[in-house]
Structures are given as structure tokens and as C-alpha cells.
Symmetry: C2
Subunit: 437 residues, 2 copies
Amino acid sequence: MDWASELGAWGAVSVAEEERGAHSGDVSGHAASLPQVVVWPRDGAGVAGILAWANERGVAVTPWGAGTSVEGNPIPVAGGILLSLARMDRILEVSLEGKYGVVEAGVKYRELNRALAGTGLHFAVEVGGDATVGGMIGNNAAGPKAVKYGATKEHVLGLEVVLADGRRMRTGSKAWKQSCGYNLTQLMVGSEGTLGVIIEATVRLTAVPEFVEVLVAEFGSVEEAVGCVGRMRGLDAGALEFLDGSFMGFLGEAERDTLFCEFHREGDGEAAERICLGGGAVSVRRGTEAADRERLWGARLRAYTAAGEAHAGSKLLTTDTAVPLGTFGAMVGYLREELVNRGLVGYLLGHVGDGNLHVILPYKDRAEWEKVKEFSRAAVGRSLELGGTASGEHGVGMGKREHLEAEHGREAVEVMRMIKRGMDPKGILNPGKVLPG
Amino acid sequence: MDWASELGAWGAVSVAEEERGAHSGDVSGHAASLPQVVVWPRDGAGVAGILAWANERGVAVTPWGAGTSVEGNPIPVAGGILLSLARMDRILEVSLEGKYGVVEAGVKYRELNRALAGTGLHFAVEVGGDATVGGMIGNNAAGPKAVKYGATKEHVLGLEVVLADGRRMRTGSKAWKQSCGYNLTQLMVGSEGTLGVIIEATVRLTAVPEFVEVLVAEFGSVEEAVGCVGRMRGLDAGALEFLDGSFMGFLGEAERDTLFCEFHREGDGEAAERICLGGGAVSVRRGTEAADRERLWGARLRAYTAAGEAHAGSKLLTTDTAVPLGTFGAMVGYLREELVNRGLVGYLLGHVGDGNLHVILPYKDRAEWEKVKEFSRAAVGRSLELGGTASGEHGVGMGKREHLEAEHGREAVEVMRMIKRGMDPKGILNPGKVLPG
């Protein structure tokens, strides 16, 4: 196939090994897969042209934002066209009065926030990777600030989507409130490019907090830490994070289950300190100055990187269960035991404020992969028993498809399949993801 | 048809004129329509039995919560079965630690909050009517607190739904965070009983504010009032309401455009007062004691009832546009002019914090109805021009179907139709609603 002459009208095209390789895997250990071609459309017409062409021929199309996913979400497992949104990176409109921004899908959220600096508004979702807004919407990403601001889904007012056959669909509006017809915006959020390609988004902009205080509290047990989080429910918490004692030790800190908290209202840090000291904390530190906050947050910030660097040559599997708030301690206890029982190394950290827990598990080869994968399955099983989910913020991708029916039941998965068939009858959009095979 | 012997196994059944009449219209002026039979199932098995029976025979089924809708959403326009959820009114579980409640669809939200009194948690959506949780979810209702807490959609963690053919589907989970497959929960929220019957909901419970201050500020113009609201964006506002000057005059108050605000953080009322006085307010009153707050909120609270009582013998049409935040003043200006141009009486009030504006229009007969309906069409037209919506919080029902395509475009409506066909192939579920004919 002469891809350049077939697709060149709609964007830059490359079949170079290097470009295909650079778009064959995300930041997870999921098996990479080369696309046949990488295309970078520059506008909606380009995306529409590519999809119409591919749909007619039954060629797979996998959308790509920044490749920072961790469940293999943008890996082109069926080859075909890798559709990169990276060059659709214009901020189209910012309305400070309307508190919304309109961006092309390839705009990175940090870039959007740089453009908003000094306005008093920001896009309030923060994730670890240098992700695009489109990718964050596709995966319904979240991160530490979700405890206050909600996941990405709560920041999307409207979308422009190119459907499988190249038709362009608008959803939502620029109003903050809308109750008018089926919520196609939320159907697209978290659909991981399997129902359409998001090319433009209208996102909510949120007031930047004028006051920020960081609190770090060390505990003798996870139950004490979780109990304190439960008692903080009236406070204006911008983040409520948990690092496991052994992980803290590994990071060179005191080997204690630790809460990393951020508060946005004066007095709440003090109130939280009282709660922590009354709830068993052995030490509490607080800071409001930028330098102090950064120092206090240090261990939390370097946790992921440190785990990776300590296992150079290994890949990492990261679990992503989220359980009902009151059961976080039980989940941590179960996973610690399972790590011991299975003789595995695993680093626990989580967004305790919303019940979302990650275990970072290094593995070197197929045999080790099987072991960490079995651990991950057990974690999901326990999460579902507790009323939780297989994936709190990473999406389904390749990694969680096998759990979809256990989590949602047969009827819900049948409805999902019906929607997928209706919106992508030829199955060209990001095949091999979300729905089980 | 002997309805009692056909449906009696699944719930109480009535064909009495009185019961059919009591379930033939909502609180709006939309034309009432008698169902052939009213059924009150007591559990999910009952709902499933009724739907399987009706689907086999192609009999229309219209779900009913409390009948407090204002767009004709639960009116059985095609007759058939009126399925009342009123007797499925059990609170099944409350988890204070997990911050969720599980309720049957017929539980009234005020009842849920009464049950939660003293726990420090509540279901944070407040609407004017004595609505059921299921009805609020079906319509994605909102109300004055949405500026802080969001609409009903942001409070639903999971659902149990009976599908058209009687299968039962679960969606979501009890975790606060979930990014795992297509968001069927949000597809059901706001679908007004046209895609399935919601029988059970897991809802978020939110901390009751420990501090509440009310502020009422009178302005010489709506632009000044809106400008001040824009400058309050860093404050912890629990409600930001607007009453038009003439409406205030009608209510016996000073004839000035007035903001009714609620703040949940100490000091924010004072900050808002400074903003209002610096932004043109001619008077500002504040209060933190319950009695003072009630007195200050008085005019806002009695506004709807007073408008209705002043026009005894008339019906009321209430518009429900929501526009981007910065354009609220332009919308008010346009509607005032249109009222004058058309020689209509209309009372303006709105949730200015989220751009949602209502005009209450009395009408007596068909001729007057045509005039207020034309006004409503013009309001929607202007809202869409401004980037807004036909319906901020009342849903589509019968009243807004004609605007669906103008608001969302042909492609989105086609996708909505595809979903409707897939989930309700015989079209038995609440026919004549949401999608245009």
C-alpha cells in the first residue's frame, strides 16, 4: 500500500520504522505492536478523511494522544493506521467569563494550564504523565486532585467527535448545565477511542485555589490513616494521598504508613493535624510556603520514578483498583498479605481520598509477568467483592478487558457491545480494547 | 384487557378513573393523557415481569416517580401502562464510611435526607418539588445547589436498571472513582425512562456544610449583578441565584435585580459583600443565623408559588435555558425585550452561578399558549446562539423534543436514535419523549 499517496491529503504520513516504533507501545509493559503507518492530521477534516477512507476498506485506526497510558490503551494491536492527534494542538478559545476552554485533542493539559497562568483559572485535573487533553478524556484519567475536583469526566462540557465513517458529531455545549437528551459526551469520555475519535473538547476551567497547605502525617497502621481521612470529610482537601510504610522506607523515609494531604482553606490544615494526632499519628508536618510544600510532598512526588529506577531492566505493572471509601484499609491489608504469600515485590500507593490504590509491580520476564498478572487478577477480584472496580483511572485498554463482565455483569456488557456495533459496525476503531474478545 | 389478572402478579394494579387521572399529567401545563392502567410494583422482579409482558405485546410503559416534572416527562401520551415506582421506596443501605447510599427509585430525596439527619452527610441535590431519587436521575434534575455540588448526574455512582425486555442491568459501582468501560450510568441519567426503568441507585453522600451564610444584594442592573458573580469564583458558594427586578417588585420587595447567595466558608460572605459593593450593589444584607437566613431567602423561596397564585386559573410554562456563564446578562436582556415586544407577562429568575435561567409564563387558553410557546422557542434559539442549551435541568420530555436536533446536530441525534433502537427495539419505553418524532 502506498500510504503516503492514499492518506497524504489529510495529514503528514510516515512508514519509517522509527516512527512506527515510537507509536507501538505506551508507558506500560503491555506488548508493543507496530502500526503499518503513522498519520498526523492537522484538522477535523483530515481526521474525517482518514476515517472515511479506513472505514470503507476495513482498516484499523488507533487514536494516539501522547502515549502516556498504562493499560495499553493506544497500542495498535491490529496494526493499520496509527492516528496521532499530536499536531492538532491549538487552544481555540479561552473564556474567563464563561469559565471554559476549547482545545484541539492534541493539546497537552500542562500546556493549557501554562496558557492560563495568571488568569486565576486552570484545568483542574492533574495526572502524572505529560498527557493530552484528548487522551485524558479518552481514558477518563484522574490523579491526586480528583478527590476535590473529580475525574476528567467532570470537566468536559462538550466534544467534537469524528465517527467511524467520517461523520462529525458535536456533543454537549458551552453551558455548565445541560439536561437535554442522552449524554453522549459522557458516553465518549472513557471510551478509549473505540466509539469515535475525539478531535476537540470544551472543558471547564476552575478557580485556582488562593491558599494551599500541605500536611504529611505518619501512622503506625493503615487503618489509623484511613480512619483520619474519614474524619476529614468536611475539610476542603485538594489531595488525600497514601504511601505504604515499606514504600516510604524504600524511599529513604521513616517506614510508616503516611498520608500526604493538601488543603485549600485556612485552618483546615490545623484541623486535619488535630484529627491525625487524635487518630494515632506519630508525626505531623505542615507547610504553606511553596518551598516547604515541595519538600513535604517530595517522597510522594518521586515515588513512581524511584520504583522504576530501582528496577532498571524490569517492566512495571501497576494495578488500579478503586474500592468504596470505607474499605480502603481492608484492600491495603489484603494486598500486603498477597504480596507476601506470592513472594512478590510491590510498592503500594493510592488516592485514599477516593479509594483508588495502585501497586507497582516490577517484572523481568514472561514467568515473572505471569506472577504479577495473577496478583493483579486477585486484586481486581477482591476489589469487586468489596463493591469496587478493576480500574479507577487507567481505563480498560488491553489489561482489564478480561474483568469487564465480572465487574458490570452480562447485561451491561451486552449493551456496551450493542453501542459499539452501532457506532463502529466494521470494528475499525481501536480494535482489541475495552470490550472482551 | 383484564389488567389485574395480567399484571397483578407483579404489583398493585388499578384501572380506576381517579388513579389514572392522578397519573395523567405532571406539574406543567403539558396536555394530560390517561394511561389505561396504573401499576405499582414492589420490587425489581415486579418491574421486570411487567416490562417482559409489555415488550412481548408492544404495550407502552411510562415510568413515574412523583409527577413533579415540568416538561411532561412522565405523561403517558401513548396510554398503556403507567409504571409507578412510588411503592419501591426503601432505603436499602447507607454507608457513612463509604459516603454512599443505596435506595430504591421511589425514595424521595427529602426522605433520604431526613434519614441522614445528624450524620453530617446528605444527598446534596435540592429541587423545588418533592421528587423521587429515581425521577431526579431520570431527568438529571439540578436546582440552586448545583453551582457547588453539580446536577444529579454528579451524584450517581451506580444504577440498577430494568431493560425493555425485562432483563436487569447493573451499572457503575460503589466506588467513588471508576474508569472501566462505557459509562452506562451516565447514559441512563437524563434518559427519562426511554432506555430502561431505573429501579435502584447508589448515590454519593456529601458532607453537610458546617457553616452557612446568606447574602442578598440588590443592583441597578443585571450586568452589575452578573459581573459580581463572575468575581466570586474563588468563594465557596453553595447557591448563586438571581431574581429579576420586576419579579422582586411583584413580590413586594424593592424593584431591583437581586442576587441571593449562600456561602459555606467563614469570611466568604464578607468578601462577597465587598465584591457587590464595589460592583454597584445598592444594598447588601447578610445573615448566618437560621432565622436570618430564612428571612433573607424569603423572596427567592416564595417566588414560584407567588407567581402561580397570582394567576389562579392559568397554567404556567417555565423556560429552562442555560447559557455559558459570561452570557447570562445578555440572555436576561434579550428575554426582557422579547416579553415587552410580545406583550407577555413573564417572571424571570435563575441560577446565575451556572447560567440557568427560567421565565415563568402564565397562559389561559390555546391562543395564549401559542404566544408563550413562541416566546419559549425564541428563548431556546437565543440560548443556542450563545452556545447554550434548551434545557438546563428540566429535561426534554414533550416540551423540548423539537429543539433536540438544533441543539445537538443531526449526527448526535442519529447516534441517540441508534441507542434507543438498540435498547428498546419495540419502542415501548416512555414513547413520545426526548427524541423528536
